[in-house]
Amino acid sequence: MAQPQVPVTVLTGYLGAGKTTLLNRILSEQHGKKYAVIVNEFGELGVDNDLVVNADEEVFEMNNGCICCTVRGDLIRIIEGLMKRKDKFDGILVETTGLADPGPVAQTFFTDDEVKARTRLDAIVTVVDAKHFLGQLEQGDEAEEQVAFADVILLNKTDLAGEDELKKVEGKINSINRYARIFRTQKSQIELAAILDKGAFDLNRILEFEPDFLHHGHDHDHEEEVKSLSLTAERPVDPDKFQKWMGALLQLRGPDIFRSKGILAIDGAPRRYVYQGVHMMMDSDWGTPWKEGEKRFSKLVFIGRNLDGENLQRGFNDCLK
């Protein structure tokens, strides 16, 4: 029997950024909705709620030889368990530990059929500590990757940083992930509508969600860094060539590509072809039809490490008719 899919919001952020404060807010505020919350530290939350579930971040590698195909088995189990409840809920929030890579959480929603049938990944929300973010970037890859994966960023604790500092942090966030929407917050105070039910992984909403989706351009940052870039084309795409190129690219560079999405004008097809992915895992479908006389175009977006925009554009150009 078809049941509505429960939206799942993944909440990431470095240690001390304000994730717990945000969760406490969501659980205690009167908004008339019921959320199940999957946390990794039981007892940290001040709210006593039987819909708070403790999880160990149990990541396993899929048995398919792909090193970036890692999945949270504990999430699969917990979601199956939550679905046995009599009382249903409006959404699920998954909090990751401060040092977690958001990849396995996101990939879980591409991998498991039952999880896919019952839930849908809605968005990845990353809480950033305005005062300490730049310093955290020096500590390792985690803070950077959490921003790279994000659909929505809460630039939190803005009261502790000056305007110049905030501008600098926002500039850095933009250089890593220019497609995420940034909200400045204090004490994680935010309208829930800004972070929940965003449809960021909804293939039908790829265009409407991206604030900067039609902005084209390459930046010439140092390539070692995580950055976002887009490729465009006006000539129609040869589907076979594209599939081959994208397949090889993900096979080779999957671990370095955190998020990708795109709209393709396939040669001879009346509808847009849309896709989105996390590392090597992809979802794709036919989107809305092109209107009569509408200018057709293709646009791909990548957020990842060591991306060579010119090389990627050349590869993409070879897929065009």
């Binding site: 007892g43 160990d56 396993f60 699969i76």
Partner: protein, 347 residues
């Protein structure tokens, strides 16, 4: 043993039995040791007891015993009632009168799987990364394993338990002498486990839509691939000649007599369901089997004659649990919509 599998009337109406609205998804069902009570673990924390005698008066629903979902249930091998596990971290012993007492409490964890060993009266239950064995009032912990225990089962003689987790299966001796655990490795996440009824094999279903079977004596293993979904239900026949697996549209049994299933196709029979078999349960004594579908149907089969009959269920909700009574004449069935059935199949 005779079951009425050829009754064409069952296509239209269910066999004699009782049907009760459980008001919450059924997570598990079981019969009491003496077969007189059928019980259902429900998504509102209740454990619903019903007389197995379909003509006896229905007992009232009672209050929730778990604060959350009652996830796992077995007949109490050392009593007249049941043992249940819940997502409130409680493992409960439930009397035939429905009163409950706490055996163990693992706050913040879920008691997700419970197994019973009839002859020794022992219970094994998993919460988080550990398994707990309950015997004669004593609770002993085995673990922690490297990841959460995804399923567990007793050996035939009840001297050992096998726990499934990431990377394979761990077998513990639970008797007086504490031996180091034995590990059976296979990469990936193992999500279901059944020890064969003759004790010679351990079978698991994996996250990657295949099943894995270890031959205990030689510690050799085999893999059967090609399922369209995860195999979450496994059931060995009473004579250990076949292993039934879910996740197929018809009954699917791997032959384990003689040289085993290597290089052979599984035996498949029965009518194709609209969906896939979600739960399968071999008969405790004879050559019968029952399969419940994720599309809501119920099918009874006979592996010897390859005959089967599809029972039309009232709603299309996925069957979530099945249990045969110890004497093999009655069947408990629960589904996701909370329909609870006790059927009497005696001819």
């Amino acid at each position: 043993m005779k079951l009425d599998l050829s009754n064409p009337a069952w296509h239209q109406t269910l066999p004699p039995g009782r049907s009760v609205a459980g008001d919450a998804p059924a997570a598990a069902c079981a019969f009491s040791k003496d077969g007189s009570i059928a019980a259902f673990a429900l998504g509102d924390g209740r454990v619903r007891l019903l007389p197995a005698d379909i003509n006896a008066a229905e007992t009232p629903a009672g209050e929730p015993l778990h604060n959350g979902v009652a996830l796992a249930l077995v007949g109490d091998p050392a009593g007249d009632g049941f043992v249940s596990g819940g997502d409130d971290g409680k493992l409960l012993r439930i009397g035939a009168d429905g009163t409950a007492s706490e055996i163990a409490n693992q706050k913040g964890k879920w008691f997700e799987h419970v197994a019973a060993h009839r002859a020794t009266g022992a219970i094994a239950a998993s919460a988080g990364k550990s398994a707990f064995v309950v015997k004669g009032g004593e609770v002993k912990e085995f673990g922690p394993h490297e990841s959460t225990v995804a399923d567990l089962d007793f050996s035939k003689d009840g001297s050992r338990i096998a726990c499934a987790h990431y990377g394979g299966v761990t077998v513990w001796s639970i008797g007086q002498v504490t031996l180091p655990p034995r590990k059976f490795a296979w990469r990936g996440s193992h999500v279901a486990l059944k020890w064969s009824t003759d004790g010679k094999f351990i079978a698991t279903g994996t996250q990657e839509n295949d099943i894995h079977v270890w031959r205990m004596a030689q510690a050799t293993d085999m893999r059967m691939q090609g399922y369209p979904a995860k195999v979450k239900s496994l059931s060995w026949t009473a004579d250990a000649r076949f292993l039934y697996t879910s996740a197929q549209p018809v009954f699917t049994a791997w032959p384990f007599s003689g040289k085993g299933p290597e290089g052979k196709p599984p035996l498949q029979f029965g009518e194709e369901g609209a969906g896939l078999i979600s739960v399968v349960a071999a008969h405790p004594a004879a050559e019968f089997v029952v399969g419940g579908y994720d599309s809501g149907e119920l099918q009874l089969g006979d592996i010897k004659t390859r005959r089967s009959v599809v029972l039309k269920m009232a709603d299309g909700s996925a069957i979530t649990c099945l249990a045969w009574s110890p004497d093999g004449y009655k069947l408990a069935v629960g589904n996701e919509a909370g329909a609870l059935l006790v059927l009497d199949l005696r001819r």
